[in-house]
């Protein structure tokens, strides 16, 4: 009970925060969703003594794509990495606050990080296929998690994942080629296929297109559209058109705080916050 009270109190504070005084009359998009997949409350992240994320609360639903936007260095990647505990791999990083996946506290000692990361997959800024064959790249996750009981099943998982990632037609006849020999865009789709192969519930993407050309970018964006609804997707992007194109909800970060979070259409047409407006209209950042 006390736990719930605390969460609601924080929620109210964030909502007040987010609305701002001037915008109090605008109907606000609630931070809290009825049935969130991921729900973060009062998250602080420190690198040593330096605070990179300040009191961020946000809900991510299953049925839409959430975009994190904001100027470089504002903490988008840092916050994204709290959601699958990749910050654990940085010795000086420290995370405070409450983050739940399906209501389960992911920072509780009972949480198995390995299992968590299988449920919350991640795609990185720079495509990072392993120096193995295309097949082995996709089969990597299923193998370590023992998802396939035999060769036939593994083949099936690999094919299905590559198909979902929109790469199957391009690589089906050369699965034993090295994954690093593909083009940048194909490598990134391979990484998405690799993440999908373990059947995650959430996929986190950290600027997945920033190293790609426009055509490869368009393919990834198509892919995100196709995956929407099957996975909860969070995408960090510095490209506002991309955020507008692929997401249904947008969160604007600035200097480690979550300035505004709402429907993408509203953020881009009618932002409540002055800062958001400045950023979207390109006055800075």
């Amino acid at each position: 009970m006390t736990d719930d009270n605390r969460r609601n109190e924080q929620l109210a504070r964030i909502a007040r925060n987010n609305m701002g005084e001037a915008a109090a009359d605008v109907p606000s998009e609630p931070i809290g969703l009825a049935d969130p997949k991921i729900s973060a409350r009062g998250v602080n992240v420190f690198y040593g003594a330096k605070q990179a994320i300040k009191d961020v609360s946000i809900d991510v639903g299953m049925d839409n794509v959430v975009a994190f936007i904001g100027p470089s260095g504002c903490g988008k990647s840092t916050f994204l990495r709290t959601l699958n505990r990749m910050n654990d791999t940085i010795p000086i990083a420290r995370v405070e606050g409450d983050i739940r996946l399906d209501g389960e506290d992911i920072y509780s000692p009972k949480m198995d990080v390995v299992q968590l990361r299988a449920r919350v997959g991640m795609v990185f800024q720079k495509p990072n296929p392993f120096p193995k064959s295309i097949y082995d790249n996709v089969a990597y996750g299923p193998r370590i998690h023992g998802l396939a009981s035999g060769k036939a099943e593994l083949d099936e998982i690999v094919e299905r994942s590559l198909q979902r990632a929109g790469l199957w037609n391009e690589v089906s006849d050369r699965l034993s080629d090295s994954g690093t020999a593909l083009s940048g865009g194909q490598q990134q789709r391979l990484c998405i296929a690799r993440a999908i192969a373990v059947d995650p519930e959430v996929i986190l993407m950290d600027e997945p297109c920033s190293a790609l050309d426009p055509i490869a970018t368009a393919k990834i964006e198509e892919l995100i559209h196709a995956l929407r609804g099957q996975y909860a997707i969070v995408i960090v992007t510095h490209n506002m058109q991309q955020a507008a194109r692929v997401s249904q909800r947008t969160a604007f970060f600035h200097l480690g705080t979550l300035v505004e979070y709402g429907k993408t259409s509203e953020i881009f047409t009618n932002p409540r916050e002055e800062k958001t407006k400045d950023y979207i209209t390109g006055r800075y950042g």
């Binding site: 990749m86 791999t89 990361r117 997959g121 990072n128 392993f130 996750g141 370590i144």
Partner: protein
């Protein structure tokens, strides 16, 4: 002694040239109030180099030809008619006379040498005068020439720079020329060896029992296969069985698990292993490990156990090679981009799964390169095997038995009382050449592999 005196003379006059050049440059400044192109000391160096280098070159050449000139002079004296005709006797008398004349020897063993001492004294004195005169002349000529060229706008600095570059180039050429010379002499002696012993017998023969006199076409006990086997068995098999896992695991620990504080003191300690003189390892292998292994083998009833064993030498050599393998593996693992590690961790694999399935496979080419370099070091290693591996050529896979290696046999062949052109001595060169070629190839392959690997992650 005359040589040393002359050298000091040249250097002393060189110093004077330096001071003169520098003073001259300083005088320009005072007289004309002009700015010099180069600092006064560069003018000094320019002049000193011109004064000193030609006489030094002259002395180097002179030192090589003057003994012949002196002997010619002695032989042209009438007393030389009395010398025996036999070349060897003649040379030994003359060399004794020269030794006494130059003060290196006190009394003559051959009475006849006494006669030639005064002649040699005269010849030495004669040529010494010539040397001194020529040196001083060259020195002053060079110094004067340089002195006349000094002007306020003279670019002494760039000239000196060119000399410095020339000196550095010469230094590096010396290393290269020496290497070429060594290889050439190896090849030359090996060819002489193969004129006596059939290369087929040497490279493919299975009995190693070198004889001092050879019968062409017959079996002369120069079959080196047992030596090659012993070398591979100790250096490439036993030593690597020890060094690869230990080196790799310590590299993984140091790069992936150790806290920075631990890494800071553990890495240098590991590297100290590489600095221990190999003779110390040799002691350790021969006096501690070998007897322990023999006792162990005897206790469990392994036949053929010897107090000098392949295992003792190989294990200790493996320990010696650990830092080598570990530092190469360390570099290779560190060169794998962090994004690989993160990619694997983000898939939900544990740290050790990530190391086993991603980091080590990705680092493998670099590790393989390091292992090849380690093998090439191990098979060329001499001290440990001389002390611990034994002398009997033995085609056995029993690690407790005594085997011998290429390097051990080279030492063995060269330390006996042998004529230089006996087949036994020449065989050492042939073995050396084989060893050289193999290690060279291993190094080339290893460096290529490592380079290719570095490029992959650039």
């Amino acid at each position: 002694m005359a040589g040393a005196g002359l050298l000091f003379l040249v250097l002393g006059l060189g110093l004077i040239a330096w001071i003169t050049g520098r003073a001259r440059a300083a005088a320009f400044v005072k007289a004309d109030r002009t700015n010099l192109n180069s600092l006064p000391s560069y003018h000094g160096w320019y002049m000193a180099l011109f004064a000193v280098v030609p006489p030094l070159l002259f002395l180097a050449v002179w030192g090589a030809i003057v003994p012949a000139l002196q002997t010619d002079m002695v032989l042209s004296a009438p007393a030389a008619q009395a010398l025996p005709m036999d070349g060897f006797a003649r040379a030994s008398i003359l060399s004794e006379a020269r030794a006494i004349a130059s003060g290196a020897q006190d009394t003559a063993f051959q009475p006849m040498a006494e006669q030639f001492v005064p002649l040699y004294r005269a010849a030495i004195a004669h040529y010494n005068w010539i040397a001194v005169a020529a040196t001083v002349l060259l020195l002053f000529a060079g110094g004067t020439y340089a002195f006349t060229r000094l002007k306020p706008d003279f670019r002494a600095r760039t000239k000196v720079e060119r000399v410095v570059m020339g000196a550095l180039l010469t230094a590096s050429l010396i290393a290269i020329v020496t290497t070429i010379g060594i290889v050439a002499s190896l090849i030359f002696e090996t060819v002489r060896f193969f004129q006596m012993v059939n290369p087929i017998e040497f490279l493919f023969g299975a009995t190693w029992n070198p004889q001092s006199t050879v019968t062409p076409g017959g079996d002369n006990g120069f079959g080196a296969i047992p030596l090659f086997w012993g070398t591979v068995f100790i250096g490439a098999i036993i030593a690597m069985i020890v060094a690869i896992p230990l080196g790799l695991m310590s590299a993984v620990y140091l790069t992936q698990y150790a806290r920075p504080a631990v890494r800071k003191w553990m890495k240098p300690i590991l590297e100290i292993l590489a600095g221990v003189p190999t003779v110390v390892y040799g002691y350790f292998a021969a006096l501690t490990i070998a007897p322990a292994l023999r006792d162990f083998a005897a206790a469990v009833g392994i036949p053929g156990a010897s107090s000098e064993s392949a295992l003792a030498a190989g294990v200790v050599m493996g320990v010696m090679i650990i830092p080598f393998v570990s530092s190469m593996a360390d570099d290779s693992i560190a060169a794998v981009p962090n994004s690989m590690r993160d990619g694997s961790l983000a898939m939900g694999s544990t740290k050790s799964e990530t190391i086993k399935k991603v980091l080590i496979p990705a680092a493998l080419p670099g590790v393989v390169g390091g292992v090849l370099l380690a093998v090439s070091r191990a098979i060329g290693e001499t001290m440990i095997v001389v002390m611990a591996a034994g002398l009997t050529a033995n085609m056995t896979a029993n690690p407790f038995a005594s085997v011998t290696t290429v390097t051990v046999q080279i030492v063995q062949l060269l330390t006996g009382d042998q004529e230089f052109d006996s087949p036994k001595t020449l065989a050492a060169f042939a073995l050396g050449l084989v060893l050289f070629i193999v290690t060279l190839l291993l190094n080339l392959v290893a460096l290529r592999v490592v380079k290719r690997y570095r490029e992959a992650y650039e």
